[in-house]
């Protein structure tokens, strides 16, 4: 029985290997159900848009193989394993968020397949990894940008922070914001915590409101962030809420309604309302509007699009779809124009240095208000 099973495995392996040659497969660990589905869905649509614009490389069709991670870390690792072992993908594009990307990244690193992160901003994602890259800036910069902007530009001196302790992204961004804000001379009057999955933040907010901060920094994901703001509003909060890139989602306004009016967040330097767009951003916006007439182009989709383009360009330059060849060429990426700015990788750093945008919600609409240079 054991022998039969082993033989069967061999046959299956041999078959799948011979099929793999006809197309280039890019595996997507997508986030299309669960907590962060809205963000993940937009990223996926961005990748699909890029795929429809650049459908072929080296005379072969590029196919996106999508597996859902249910917004979960463990499922992300499972999805990555499945894509690498079953589908024999040539490269991976990572899930939405830092924690899930780290989980999928461990698998990709061991299997020696490139994983391109989309909007995973925690520095640990690529640290010490050979095969993990990302299309976005990282949180030490974002935290500094947010602290700088609120202290210098908006003149806020007292800040409160509400962090999800179960989220790698939130913990990282919160600590970068706090250290920079205090370095500038500001005071953290309240530093409270909650856990992913919580829906009641009233106790934390009561405490924060009592400390009367000028600004409440919430490095949350959009769905939780909107509910936090809503509860704050119900309890008569007057301070301004600020967040990071994970709050960049059209759903914030739908969930939060009038409670999110005046909310500001840092994000990737793309928004349809931005005054000056680079050529890539213009092309992306045009193509998006043609393909998805009923949805506004957005930063999430831009990150998905950029991740695809970076891998696509590396395949072209390598003139091969071999996972290791893709990696070697990706490492030489210098000043490739992407929607959210120029992207370069080096052996030392797989983290691009890019501008951050600042967005404010005004009259129920997202408005791009400023660009922060690194």
């Amino acid at each position: 029985m054991k022998k039969f099973f082993a033989a069967l495995c061999l046959v299956v392996l041999a078959c799948s290997a011979s099929f793999a040659a006809d197309t280039i497969k890019i595996g997507v660990v997508a986030t299309v159900t669960g907590q962060n589905a809205f963000g993940g869905q937009l990223e996926l649509e961005g990748m699909q848009l890029a795929n429809s614009l650049y459908p072929e490389a080296l005379g072969k069709k590029i196919e996106l193989v999508v597996v859902d991670n249910k917004s979960d870390k463990v499922e992300s690792a499972t999805a990555a394993t499945r894509l690498i072992e079953n589908d024999k993908v040539n490269a991976l594009i990572g899930p939405y968020g830092s924690g899930p990307t780290m989980a999928a990244g461990e698998v990709a690193e061991v299997a020696e397949v490139v994983l391109m992160g989309t909007a995973c901003t925690n520095p640990l994602v690529t640290e010490g990894k050979k095969f993990i890259y990302r299309a976005c800036f990282i949180d030490p910069f974002q935290g500094e940008a947010a602290a700088n902007y609120s202290y210098n530009k908006l003149g806020y001196k007292k800040a409160a922070v509400l962090t999800d302790v179960a989220s790698d992204y939130a913990v990282g961004l919160a600590s970068f914001f706090k250290s920079n804000f205090t370095k500038l001379g500001g005071e953290i009057v309240s530093d409270l915590k909650y856990q992913s999955g919580d829906t009641d933040f009233t106790a934390q907010l009561t405490e924060i409101i009592n400390k009367a901060p000028d600004v409440i920094f919430i490095p949350a994901y959009f769905a939780e962030g909107a509910i936090i703001m809503k509860q704050g509003y119900e309890m008569g909060n007057k301070a301004r809420f600020m967040g990071g890139d994970a709050m960049d989602n059209p759903e914030v306004v739908t969930l939060g309604g009038s409670a999110v009016e005046g909310f500001m967040h840092t994000t990737f330097a793309y928004d349809p309302s931005m005054p000056e767009m680079n050529t890539e951003a213009k092309a992306f916006t045009e193509a998006w509007v043609k393909k998805y007439a009923d949805k506004a182009p957005n930063a999430n989709a831009a990150m998905g699009y950029d991740a695809y383009v970076l891998i696509y360009q590396a395949i072209l330059r390598a003139n091969s779809a071999d996972p290791k060849a893709i990696r070697d060429e990706l490492e030489k990426t210098t000043n490739v124009a992407t929607v959210t700015g120029m992207t370069s990788f080096t052996t030392e750093s797989h983290d691009p240095v890019k501008d951050a945008g600042v967005v404010e919600i005004k009259g129920g609409k997202k408005l791009y208000v400023d660009t922060i240079k690194p």
Binding site: V32, T33, G34, Q35, A37, F38, Q41, D68, K70, V165, S190, D191, L192, K193, Y194, Q195, G197, D198, T199, D200, T202, A203, Q204, T206, E207, I209, N210, A223, A226, I227, K230, Y233, E234, M235, G236, E251, T254, L255, G257
Partner: protein, 298 residues
């Protein structure tokens, strides 16, 4: 902590605790009668929230109608679950029924993902429920925060009346003591058990509706966490006891909120506080606060 803050925290805790209690009652009723932990209860709670979401936001029906539809819908699902997944296993070992319950729970969650998609959806609350009212300079409450505990207590009152003052209630209590003897007394046991599931599911639907109003978002896995917490509340209060479930829910709500209120620096340990208390109480009183000694447990 100032008095104002305490008042604010008090009402927040009351609302949260009452909702936990209301869900916990569903666990406790089924356990009391069948010695079965109905893991699908949290998912019926989720379905209740979805039904009201679809009725009022997608189909633009008035809220009153939406609530009635949600209660009927959830009750029907509860009855079907009992008929299809539990009744055929009545004579089987208890562990089989438990596994069946876990199966139903996964089935309902994944069915919801397929039918409603995995996207969380925003619930748009009626304005009058959520426009803040200033109680004093520092205390601000929304009408919903008062309505939730009030409705929950009224529902528990009604339930207690059914269980202790009516014939079907008498039959329920009798089944919980001895199912075989009750059957010999000419009581239609399956019908009474179905009634229990119907009542539990209707309460779950109402809890789901209030939860969706208070924390305005619905998604297929929204039942897991509250269901889990409510189950703990039911055990804590003494599983099988209806007032116990409510007290357990309130205690859990108060511990969660007040631990943050009194120790804001340790807000990350909220759940740890709640569970330490739970363990201590169960060590001192293994059957829970209001629980009776049982001969047999799972």
């Amino acid at each position: 902590m100032s008095l104002n803050m305490f008042i604010q925290n008090f009402f927040n805790a009351l609302g949260l605790g009452a909702l936990y209690g209301l869900i916990a009652v569903g666990y406790t009723m089924v356990y009391g009668i069948l010695r079965l932990i109905n893991f699908a209860h949290g998912d019926i709670f989720m379905l209740g929230a979805y039904f009201v979401f679809f009725a009022t936001i997608q189909f633009k029906l008035p809220w009153g109608v939406g609530v009635v539809i949600a209660i009927i819908g959830a009750t029907v699902v509860g009855l079907l679950v009992d008929r299809i997944a539990y009744r055929p296993l009545r004579a089987a070992p208890r562990i089989s029924a438990l596994i069946s319950a876990i199966g139903v729970s996964f089935f309902l969650e994944n069915l919801a993902v397929v039918v409603f998609t995995g996207m969380p959806r925003a619930v748009i609350q009626p304005d009058w429920l959520v426009s803040p009212i200033k109680m004093s300079e520092e205390v601000s409450l929304i009408p919903l925060a008062l309505i939730v505990p009030f409705v929950s207590f009224a529902l528990i009152g009604a339930l207690l009346w059914i269980v202790y003052k009516t014939k079907p209630g008498l039959a329920m209590r009798s089944i919980s003591h001895d199912i075989e003897t009750t059957r010999l007394m000419g009581v239609s046991v399956d019908r009474i058990i179905a009634l229990t599931f119907a009542l539990g599911s209707a309460l779950a639907a109402l809890a789901g509706i209030m939860w969706a109003l208070r924390y305005p978002r619905v998604e297929p896995f929204m039942g897991i966490f509250p269901g889990f917490k409510a189950f703990i509340a039911a055990v804590f209060g003494g599983i099988g006891s209806i007032p116990g479930a409510m007290i357990g829910g309130l205690t859990l709500g108060f511990v969660e909120i007040m631990s943050i209120a009194f120790f804001p620096n340790m807000s990350g340990y909220k759940d740890a506080f709640a569970f330490i208390l739970l363990i201590v109480i169960l060590l001192v009183k293994p059957t829970g606060l209001m629980g009776e000694r049982m001969e047999e447990k799972i």
